[in-house]
């Protein structure tokens, strides 16, 4: 009974690691190794029933691990029934059956006319809003089943956001702004400061750490916002018109930074009206009337 418990515990540990994000990949690998050695011991002792049970667990774990491509994966999958209904006098479907699969390392642009459902989709993928119908899976986990009080934690640890404008907290310095998600995910102050500094250096603002937003240009502000969005090494960064208020030079500047981060493996999903921004992306999804009209892959 005790041994069965151990196996079940290991099984649960695996699930937790698999669902827990890529930061736990090493732990997941260790757990798999433990399962393997336990399996070998049980087989050697001739405890076949337990060995078979453990073998199944091991296979499951290895499959999950392989499927998730753990080192760099965080998949978001939506099913075809994903809908968002808004009641504005008459019923309007902001989203009306959207199916999307975001792979790790993707650089996706979502385009479409105003009211096509781009931002609504982004809000739901970013766990800021709930669908009226349909499901969203983050790494095989149905988001709809996650308790609402746990969503902020997932957002602060796994997701990053860059918005169009008024993106920074004006009373905070660039460094303090970049530290915010770390504060919310409970990272210790000294580590927070160091990680935020590194993120700002990465976006080329190492010399602007103590500047407040009113002391930075629009492009620099968006760079701080990008630093803030990647500071926690999130699985996906969502950008909503992140170059919307920037001139063409600043837009190019920001997008080259996005590309640079994407090359390092950072997944981006960007809602934009700007074809220049879309050009940089590998997948361009065109939306119309709450549906995906077509997708262009480069």
């Amino acid at each position: 009974m005790a041994k069965n418990d151990t196996i079940l515990k290991l099984d649960n540990v695996m699930k937790i690691y698999i669902l827990g994000g890529r930061k736990n990949a090493k732990k997941a690998q260790k757990a798999i190794q433990k399962l393997q050695s336990r399996h070998q011991k049980l087989s050697a002792k001739g405890q076949n029933a337990l060995a078979v049970q453990l073998e199944q667990t091991l296979k499951q774990a290895q499959l999950l691990f392989a499927q998730e491509k753990y080192e760099d994966s965080y998949r978001v999958v939506t099913d075809k029934t994903l809908k968002k209904r808004r009641d504005r006098g008459a019923v309007v479907h902001a989203l009306n059956g959207v199916s999307l699969d975001i792979e790790a390392g993707d650089l996706i642009a979502i385009m479409g006319p105003s009211g096509s459902g781009k931002t609504t989709l982004l809000n739901m993928l970013g766990l800021l809003d709930q669908p009226t119908a349909g499901q969203i899976f983050l790494k095989s986990q149905n988001v709809g089943l996650i308790k609402r009080r746990h969503l902020p934690e997932i957002r602060s640890k796994e997701l990053g956001f860059v918005f169009q404008s008024f993106n920074l907290v004006p009373t905070l310095t660039a460094l303090e702004n970049a530290m915010l998600p770390l504060k919310y995910s409970g990272v210790h102050m000294a580590k927070r400061r160091q990680m935020a500094k590194e993120a700002l250096v990465q976006v080329g603002l190492g010399d602007r750490l103590n500047h407040r937003s009113n002391e930075l240009s629009g492009g620099q502000q968006q760079r701080v916002a990008i630093a803030r969005s990647v500071v926690n090494s999130p699985s996906i960064v969502f950008g909503d018109e992140l170059t919307g208020e920037l001139d063409s030079k600043m837009t190019a500047d920001v997008m080259s930074l996005v590309k640079k981060l994407n090359r390092k493996g950072q997944t981006f999903v960007i809602v934009t009206h700007n074809p220049e921004v879309a050009k940089v992306c590998r997948r361009i999804i065109y939306m119309k009337d709450g549906r995906i009209e077509r997708e262009v892959k480069k």
């Binding site: 809000n123 970013g126 800021l128 809003d129 009080r149 902020p152 934690e153 957002r155 602060s156 640890k157 990053g160 956001f161 918005f163 404008s165 008024f166 993106n167 907290v169 004006p170 009373t171 905070l172 303090e176 915010l180 998600p181 504060k183 919310y184 995910s185 803030r228 969005s229 909503d240």
Partner: protein, 387 residues
Amino acid sequence: MREVLRNMFRRKTRTVLTIFGITIGIFAFTVMGSMAEKINLLVSGGTKYYADKVTVSGSDSLFLTAPLDIHKKPQIAKVEGVTAVSATVYTSLSEKFDAVSFGPPASIVGSEVEIEKRFETFKITYSSGRELNADDQGKVVVGSDLVKKLGAKVGSPVKVRGQDYEVVGIMNKTLTAPDNTVAMILADAQKIYYGELPEIVRASSRPEAVVNGFTVYVKEGVDPNQLAEKINNEVPDVVANGPKAFQDQIASATAIFNSILFGVALISLVVGGLSVINTMTMSISERTREIGIKKAIGAKTHHIMGEYLTEAAFIGLFGGLLGWGLGALTVTAINAATEESGNVIFLLSPRISIFAIAFAVILGVIAGFYPAYHAVKINIVKALREQ
């Protein structure tokens, strides 16, 4: 912490005005509270003093000084339940009673010191010198609040009603009536009192026969209130009062004062609280998008709630500290100005200080709760649409 302070002073004028609103409330609370504290201590001292004895005078009031014949003393002493009787003279330190006085006016008290030494349970200690002895003619002990006024020093003379008396002791602060008293032996006080009496009274009396009160010490197990009634019944032309009379006449008055204080606190609560609610609601509505961004990047309920409650608490704290500071300055200045006249009005005790500041902080937090709750409930998607 720094963020909270920066947020507070985004709208400097508005925040300063809100803080000032609380400042006024806490200032009023500190000043009134200090006054109430002084009164309460006076009353509590009085309650303690009168708790186990009966006072006999020639009129209905505890403090009026109608003359009594000292020959009433053996009649009172004969009443069943009386242990001892001390004749007393109580009169104003100045020629006339002070027109403006806080608590009992500066007074001269003469008594039979040997009897008091044996029976008095309200013990006085001395910061310098010693207590009076029965043969201390021409000598006085001085209450702590009158030291400055009289320029009293042990061994040196002080002028009382134009005459020199040698100071033999200076009392420690009792925070009640003796602080404002010059004590002397009965015979000396009788001479002063006799001089105050109208010619017609003086003509029919002698200084050593005139007093204006008796302190009656009660046998163990006897109720002083019942004894007072007994004295009233058995001894003609005197009014005896037990501890209940003091409670009725004085202690109940402090209840009114305490109610006024409570009223001031309540008004400051309402005014200060409303202005904090107003300020915080305004600032939250101005920061809706910012709250949306914070929530989007992972701020939990307690982060947002904590941020705004801390801000409200700081507004309360600043208002409280400022109000308390101004109140303390005012109280100290007035006390310093009136100390010369022996009329100390305020007592700013640590409990009043702590309560005033804590009250301001708690007020801020309570008032900030509704706006903070509103901030927590902000819908992220709607907030992000705000420009």
